[in-house]
Symmetry: C2
Subunit: 773 residues, 2 copies
């Protein structure tokens, strides 16, 4: 897309507080809209592909949680330690398809003339709606209204209401609702097919399809059934089965007159071998879909909406007076809620969720660093706990991964990108060197316990993970004679615009903190859960004295690079040798530098992709005075180009922390409408799901000023000039609270649960029904 066209993209979608609306069909934006209007329900999801045939440019995407294809690694030059495969998210068999034919013409928005096109994502109720009039070459005009949803109440069910009305002709309309296993991925290393269709056919009222991923052997069973109404009354179309290779469906032919409306309801059940025995997939999917069809569309939809209503009750954020910001934050929350529901500890949150194939894998450090806070505050504790348990389940694989890189004695290095615990990523400077992810995983345990108070988690799962992480750090540091300190060489920090640097402050800090927290955790479990402690000691072959004393030695003698005596931490040893240019000295034509500068030039520049030292200060802000935080912010913010979606949120939070509210607002704008306004013009590939947690943080932790101190919720809110009032719902220790912040006052209202003491701007408040400051 050219820059001139880019401009037009801004606010391509209509601003509305609860909906995303596209008016008029522009095929140039179709792939973007396919991402934006994606639906999901935790178990599965899909891009907003059309039900009917579409011969124009489209990225077809149907995804099922937890299923992956191990795509053989592709590199230019092999480095020892590279993984064998990259787990790709497979585009799965299509279940939404409904071909529409009128005589010898087929409905295809790429060849028909389209008018009155509206596409709408209703975030409050979680459905996709589309209506248009298509004019065929013959001049025939057909009005279509389509609505679909993936049930949040019954997560194996998807349902579509597809209504057509001939406007100026009478005749036979043929519907072909189908299941199709002939699907491909765009993101493949060797142009391989990821699926084998094992079976596809029709049994009575049901079409079904069973497919298996190659190599990884996941199986899915799909079934569908349908129902047709003519002007609201049941009608029996002339029905034929269609059974082709990898394809099953029906041909339904109905004669109608101009002005009549035929409505097709298509119900589908999408089951996978993660939940069912492979051999039962077809039968079970038929049972599930027939049960759903009996309930009918409207009942299914009502149950679905009820779940969304419940979700919004503890996760909504309201912004008064800024509809674009309002739409932005709700879009972020909506996407997070439909990507991960926390029911299954085998699942995690992929960078594109159910909205695209890119980046494959499912789990990056994003989960621990940017998503845990959202799920902690908007869902019951078991949701975040499942995300922690996910890593616990992968501990053995993380130990094996570390062993592959030369570590031993139970040291664990969690993968940079993973599906099943095995490393997938293959850029040495990231895969092997971006080891701070190990810190984020420890921090997430701490963060979970801090928020929920659930210290028992340490005894059950957390401590084993912490010990393995600390063992890694002990082996990964080395003593520098010249510095007389422990150093950590050859790392990539959160700022991926520096590779293979020495003593990244954030990494050193995370390492040392992990060692300290592990010792605390050991002492806690030893005292409070002695039998669990014995079990862990035995399992991990832990030597308390030698191991903790070597950790203490490292904690005491860790090297932290400093810029000056006044508390500016240095990003890494060589940072000040760089030419000190500020981001505002870059020409507009050079930005983003990752698209305009060669990689070596980026690496030796001072420019920071995303919060690095500031990420550390965000994590450990209690350790630093406001003055030190300000000094570091003032040093790093002008050098930061925010070319990661994960960057502005942290800066925005810290700007709020030091009272620079308008700066915080500017930074917030970069994150909240990133996808809706397609800032990086890459939304066609899918949404930035994981950065949405950062957006949420910049609202609640940033403007809301929410913290947990000694088990107590505290708020020191700030409002930018533009906002008159914000209000958000959170969960906290079996309560639902509503926090409302206006220019004049901050109130914390108890929506559900028992009364609670909270702190607002340093004042303790008993929060019962409504408390005013």
């Amino acid at each position: 897309m050219k820059p001139s066209e880019r401009k037009k993209m801004k606010h391509y979608y209509k601003v509305d507080e609860w909906r995303i609306i596209e008016e008029g069909f522009d095929p140039r934006h179709h792939e973007e809209s396919e991402s934006i209007f994606s639906l999901g329900n935790g178990h599965m999801g899909h891009r907003a592909n059309f039900e009917e045939k579409y011969s124009g440019k489209s990225l077809q995407g149907t995804y099922i949680a937890g299923i992956y294809y191990p795509d053989k690694t592709r590199v230019g030059w092999w480095k020892n330690g590279y993984p064998e495969y990259f787990a790709k998210v497979p585009n799965s068999p299509n279940w939404i398809g409904i071909y529409i034919k009128i005589s010898d013409e087929e409905l295809d928005l790429n060849t028909c003339k389209v008018s009155n096109f509206i596409r709408e994502l209703n975030m409050k109720e979680g459905y996709l709606y589309r209506s248009f009039v298509a004019r065929f070459k013959s001049g025939k005009q057909l009005e279509v209204q389509a609505k679909r949803f993936l049930s949040m109440a019954e997560d194996e069910i998807g349902a579509i209401r597809y209504a057509v009305k001939p406007l100026n002709f009478s005749g036979t309309i043929e519907f072909i609702p189908f299941l199709d296993g002939n699907v491909l991925n765009r993101d493949t290393n060797y142009d391989e097919k990821f699926w084998d269709v094992l079976d596809a056919g029709v049994k009575k009222e049901n079409a079904y399809l069973c497919a298996r991923t190659r190599k990884s052997g996941f199986e899915v069973g799909y079934s569908m059934t349908c129902e047709t109404l003519l002007n609201g009354s049941d009608v029996k179309p002339v029905t034929e089965k269609i059974q082709k290779a990898g394809f099953a469906g029906f041909s339904l032919k109905i004669n109608i007159a101009a002005g009549d409306e035929i409505t097709l309801y298509k119900y589908a059940a999408i089951l996978s071998s993660l939940e069912h025995k492979p051999e039962e997939l077809i039968d079970k999917s038929i049972q599930v879909v027939n049960k759903a069809a009996k309930k009918k569309f409207e009942t299914l939809f009502r149950d679905h909406v009820a779940v969304w209503e419940e979700n919004w009750s503890h996760s909504d954020i309201f912004i008064k007076g800024d509809p674009a910001a309002q739409q932005g934050i709700r879009f972020n929350i909506f996407q997070l809620n439909q990507t991960y529901t926390g029911k299954d500890e085998r699942l995690n949150i992929g960078p594109k969720g159910f909205t695209g194939e890119k980046y494959g894998g499912s789990t990056y450090w994003d989960t621990e660093a940017f998503l845990i806070p959202f799920y902690l505050s908007t869902e019951p504790p078991q949701v975040a706990r499942n995300l922690l348990k996910y890593r616990h389940k992968h501990l053995q694989k993380a130990i094996e991964n570390a062993a592959k890189l030369g570590f031993n004695q139970g040291a664990a290095l969690y993968p940079m990108v993973t599906m099943n615990g095995e490393e997938c990523h293959n850029e040495w400077e990231i895969t092997f060197e971006e080891i701070h992810r190990n810190g984020a995983i420890a921090y997430a345990i701490y963060n979970y316990i801090r928020y929920t108070g659930d210290k028992d988690y340490l005894a059950e799962n957390g401590l084993e993970v912490l010990i393995a992480l600390s063992r890694f750090w002990r082996q990964r540091v080395n003593w520098s004679d010249v510095k007389g300190k422990y150093v950590i060489l050859g790392v990539t920090g959160p700022n991926e615009y520096e590779n293979n640097v020495n003593n990244n402050w954030y990494t050193n800090k995370m390492a040392s903190w992990t060692l300290r927290y592990t010792i605390e955790a050991i002492d806690l479990v030893m005292n409070e859960h002695p039998s669990n402690f014995q079990r862990i000691i035995k399992k991990t072959r832990f030597h308390y004295d030698t191991e903790t004393s070597s950790w203490k030695d490292i904690i005491k003698n860790m090297y932290y690079p400093m810029l000056d005596e006044r508390g500016v931490f240095l990003q890494q040893d060589g940072y000040m040798d760089k030419e000190q240019r500020m981001a505002d000295e870059l020409l507009p034509a050079e930005r983003p530098i990752n698209q305009h500068w060669s990689w070596d030039r980026i690496l030796r520049s001072v420019y920071i992709k995303q919060a690095d030292v500031l990420q550390g200060i965000f994590c450990f802000e209690d350790e630093y005075t406001t003055d030190i935080i300000r000094r570091n912010f003032d040093f790093y913010e002008p050098r930061t180009v925010h070319e990661s979606s994960l960057s502005p949120c942290i800066h925005s939070i810290l700007a709020n922390r030091i009272g620079e509210v308008e700066k915080a607002y500017d930074l917030y704008l970069r994150t909240s409408r990133l996808d809706l306004d397609d800032y990086n013009h890459e939304v066609a590939e899918g949404l930035h799901i994981t950065s949405m947690g950062g957006t949420w943080m910049s609202m609640v932790i940033g403007f809301g000023g929410m913290r947990i101190k000694e088990g107590k919720l505290t708020f020191t809110p700030n409002l930018p000039r533009k906002w008159k009032l914000i209000s958000f719902n959170i969960q906290f220790r079996e309560r639902i609270l509503n926090v409302t912040i206006s220019e004049k006052e901050t109130s914390v209202k108890l929506v559900k649960g028992e009364k609670l003491q909270v702190e607002i701007n340093g004042k303790l408040i008993i929060c019962d029904r409504i408390n005013h400051q």
Copy 2:
């Protein structure tokens, strides 16, 4: 190959001073032998593939100088600045083929029983000889003797003498001499065919073939003809033409009795569009081959041997009392002479020469750093000069390459790997960061002038290159406020086991030296070639005052990392933060570390792949006292694992420089028989052609102690205990000299040319016929 088998490989070939001999056929070693017994003549070359069919494992390889296929870049993750393609050396149509059939049996050493097998590379005369007895399944036994060479006298000609003798049967023998364009590369990124055959057929006595490389459009024209003798007398076989897709040849059938010998002479002409118009290739190749055939095999061979005789007269090295070392050094010299003859300034020396496909490209910094000295001393000056002109011809491309990476105003960055001046390599840490190659290119100009005295080269070509290189360095340094010096950040030095380091001493030194030498060169050209100077000023838009003064500022204020006050230079800023382990602390099972350690572990280790600081000391040894050289050698040698073929030679030379002769000998052994003994068990892929220049250097510069000081040859020789005498021939300023070093004395004999003053161990000698020290 398993380690136990590896052992057997050592001295798999018989030691002989002039020949490489394989006795007995072992298919497990066939691909290794195909490399070892390769032939070339500067214009073309090939691996020692069999003429007859061979259904066993084989790497087919026929290569034509200067022809490449631009294979689309393959990487895991694209980085800005990566090149579009990697220039691959295409396996070219096969011209050696001669199928042999007896009734319904075909000669194939993979299916026949083989006895009395001998394969021999005669280095003195430059031919490949093979003889064996093959026993067919039927029990028939055939004796074969085959000899072939690629004419050094007429470099488009190859000739084969293929004699067969039925030992125990009579009947019809069918020979099918052919040309075959149906060839593939093993080294392709996307399994593509590199060649299209445009035409293949038979005209009278000639079979011909014309083929074109895809994308790059190089064309080759091959023709062949043949001649048969029965027991030494002409015989007319029953002849049929064979014309198939991409294949042309003859079927020649002859009835013979047991004990009779039939000899087939096959002559081939291999022409390319680098020398001929594409439309004339077929006709010309027919003319060329018919002219050669008229001369007959023996005459062609005599002319060929005469060239080798001449070659050896000014490049041989004789070692008394160490036949394995003798064979090793001659093998190195032989390969260098058959890879590059210096006739064509468009050509260069690929890392595998004509012995394999791997690494593609043709030109690495190896040429300037490791090969120029060999060609300077063993060939007339125009050979080395052509290597310099090769870079001069690529100057514009090097300027474009630098521009692509963000440099401007005529700054040049020469590519890491290239065929036509465009960058091919695609590992960011090497492609973009191993910029010291720019220093080697400047140094080669200096080295050439130092050796030949040909200062005019600066005015003609050299200065333009130097200016562009210096402009690069000026833009590549940056001022460090904290150091108060100019620094060079984000480089990879010669030691590729460190990436993206700051202030690599070697690179900083090379940069500063290049600036200084460029200023000297400017002043020289300004004074001695004023009109050329004006031309260059205009062409390069050179601003004398501003540019040279900024260069002087950098020279004066360049930062050089130091280990201590006593003159140990520090490899790079962070080197001393590493754990200081010595190479001898590595377990045998860990070596080579590049096969046993993960890449990140290698990077943060102290271990050095190849001479780095020591490479700089080698280049500028006059600047340092023996004490400083020793301190640096003593510091770096124990940390060096020599896992590059280009490493031991430099260490060997410096060991000699500081009087550690036996250490120098140990290091020499690692380089001279690297391929013959397959130290790295990778010889099957081809030979390490470029490191052979290093072997030569370690003999002549190392043990011979040869230097040029103020235009004068000087020698300070050392002999290891094992050697009683070494003797080598060199060219120097229109003379051929023989240098003989024994335990007792060193003599420099004038073989050709006018008398000359040389210095031996500090004493001036007039070298006329024989001079003794």
